[in-house]
């Protein structure tokens, strides 16, 4: 079958064609233009596309059919935890009792919603080993920013606000870490990883000083490796007067096995949309709650959701609070899904999540270890990195391998990240895949490695089976067209 190129909805537009009809106006006509200030009223009609209802339906159905998601196929996008999110959690988030209330209602009238948030806080205390939780941050990076503001408020309260200006970040960190630190007003200093892919304790020691506000760390890190020196790291950062921040992006690897609290972290965020069941490939909404140890609770965002006798209440009575970081109570629907997920999985179920996530990653890594370079030999946690260096020497780059995987029907892994591994391929199979799927993917990767040797042009020209070929990223970045023009 010859695939028809889908036109833009604008290109299908014909003047006067219409996909809706409105009833006759039965209220008094209102002249909006007369009320609007001159500079705010539109002089030229908006060029909206004009199509029939059927054209509209066909267009968006065609686009939807081109979409790839976790329900279409395997999605091993490293660092993103693209696992299956059970549909029952979607149902629960759509209950009338959760969707037909308003955040400005009096707390007495929304006790059920507040109870859910309160109980989610209690559950997340256990997941993280922290003493208090705030559910407000809208996603991971906002959680980081809020957590760093807590660092700042703490140091300021100790009279060290001006002195402690520096946040240390390993060179394998998620890009959001240095970005959040910069937005929070900190200077960022990068710590080099050692040859095992973990934080170099000596490099860390030499970077610590009276200016250190804290260290941000993901554990397991972005290479999928557990920071085995974490207890010593926590000790030396604390000795230097700094605090430890845990980026919970990789929480899928440790649920029910270990907690950031036990490891010595002072502030943590979780990406509920990743580890706790919200579909998150489309850019949101997310939820990035933060948890803190007891000595930091005075600085948490207001209002806090608390239980006073049998009532759930909003408490603003924390004068040292960094204040509100998000409208209302964060992304409530995502928090409902997380609650439903935690309650349906139970503590043992969550433990199994991490066991399977780690088992799947190690299985895939072992199956691919002959065909590709594995820069780190030790067992991994929930994800691992390969290097395409061997293939690069044959004239095929990691990018080509990623594009070729699309022809095999898989979403490509994360590539060229973390930055410390050349020609990096980062694979996170997640807990929800069947062994057969893992094998199909491993077979495809091994077949591709063979193609590199025998038919490298297959890779240079890939993808050939998708609705578009390789897009020109360079032109797109240098000369972006962000608005449709006739």
């Amino acid at each position: 079958m010859i695939e028809k190129k889908e036109m833009l909805i604008f290109e299908q537009s014909k003047p006067g064609r219409i996909a809706y009809s409105l009833p006759d106006n039965d209220v008094e006509t209102y002249d909006l233009a007369a009320e609007l200030p001159e500079h705010l009223s539109r002089k030229v009609a908006a060029e909206l596309p004009e199509v029939s209802e059927l054209q509209l339906m066909r267009h968006y159905t065609a686009l939807a059919n081109k979409n790839f998601g976790i329900e279409t196929g395997f999605y091993p996008l490293g660092s993103c935890t693209m696992k299956y999110n059970p549909k029952i959690n979607e149902d629960v988030a759509r209950y009338d009792g959760f969707t037909a209330i308003h955040p400005l209602q009096a707390p007495e009238t929304v006790q059920g919603a507040l109870q859910l948030l309160y109980e989610l806080q209690e559950d997340l205390k256990q997941v993280t080993g922290m003493d208090e939780i705030c559910l407000q941050p809208a996603a991971g990076a906002q959680g980081e920013w809020a957590g760093l503001l807590v660092f700042k408020a703490y140091h300021a309260a100790n009279g060290e606000g001006a002195q402690r200006r520096t946040i240390l970040v390993p060179d394998s960190a998620h890009g959001t870490n240095p970005a959040s630190a910069a937005v929070a007003g900190y200077d960022v200093v990068e710590i080099k990883s050692n040859e095992n892919g973990t934080v170099g304790v000596e490099a860390l020691k030499s970077a610590l000083g009276p200016d250190t506000a804290g260290l941000m760390l993901t554990n397991p890190n972005t290479l999928g490796l557990f920071e085995i020196d974490i207890v010593e790291i926590a000790e030396i950062v604390h000795e230097a007067g700094g605090l430890l921040y845990y980026d919970g992006a990789n929480a899928n690897a440790i649920l029910g096995k270990s907690t950031p609290g036990e490891m010595g972290f002072d502030v943590v965020h979780l990406n509920l949309h990743k580890s706790f069941s919200t579909p998150h490939g489309g850019g949101g909404p997310g939820s990035g709650p933060i948890g803190v140890k007891s000595f930091l609770t005075p600085f948490l965002p207001n209002p806090r959701i608390e239980k006073k006798e049998a009532q759930f209440v909003l408490n603003n009575d924390y004068p040292q609070s960094i204040g509100r970081v998000k409208g209302y109570f964060g992304n409530f629907g995502v928090n409902v899904r997380a609650y439903a997920y935690i309650r349906s999985m139970g503590a043992q179920g969550l433990q199994k999540v991490s066991e399977y996530a780690v088992l799947h990653a190690n299985y895939l890594k072992a199956r691919l270890a002959d065909a590709y370079d594995t820069p780190f030999k030790q067992h991994c946690k929930h994800e691992f990195v390969l290097s395409g260096l061997r293939q690069k020497k044959q004239g095929v780059r990691t990018l080509d391998i990623a594009k070729r995987l699309l022809d095999y029907g898989f979403y490509a892994p994360t590539v060229y990240f973390p930055l410390i591994v050349e020609e990096c391929i980062m694979i996170e199979p997640t807990d929800t895949e069947a062994k057969e799927t893992l094998d199909e993917f491993a077979d495809a990767m091994i077949a591709i490695a063979k193609e590199v040797e025998e038919q490298p042009d297959l890779l240079h020209n890939a993808p050939t089976t998708q609705s578009v070929r390789r897009l020109d990223e360079v032109i797109a970045a240098r000369k972006p067209k962000v608005v449709y023009q006739k």
């Binding site: 060229y416 360079v474 970045a477 240098r478």
Partner: protein, 128 residues
């Protein structure tokens, strides 16, 4: 404009051309642009701004990543290559000539001995 053999290099892959007494032109090496891939944006520093040794003065974005460019000397930025605003690809096409980034009046006497010459740099790169 001089050829690669007359330039000095840092371990961070900047090149330095001595264009006058305590006056240098700075860019990034052929190896650096090859590693970056296609450059799509160069964040240029302000004219007459100060440059502090080993601190970043510019950021280069490619389709793959974003990298900071570190100052090899202390001094005042006297010229900025505005061409890179509209044609960042000059960095790929001509890293040693049209792709220069800034010129700097050094505030201290230059010590070229702390940098590598082209031969030493090529040796350094071959061992990476």
């Amino acid at each position: 404009m001089a050829g690669k053999e007359t330039l000095y290099f840092t371990k961070e892959h900047e090149w330095i051309e001595v264009v006058g007494e305590d006056y240098v032109r700075i860019g990034i090496s052929d190896y650096a642009v090859e590693q970056l891939g296609d450059v799509v944006f160069v964040e240029l520093p302000e004219l007459n701004g100060q440059m502090t040794v080993e601190e970043a003065f510019s950021t280069v974005e490619s389709v793959k990543s974003s990298s900071e460019i570190y100052a090899p000397v202390q001094g005042t930025i006297t010229k900025v290559n505005d061409l890179l605003e509209d044609e960042p690809e000059k960095l790929n096409d001509s890293p040693f000539n049209e792709g220069w980034i800034v010129e700097v009046q050094a505030s201290e006497k230059l010590n070229t001995g702390e940098w590598m010459d082209a031969k030493a740099y090529d040796q350094y790169v071959s061992e990476l």
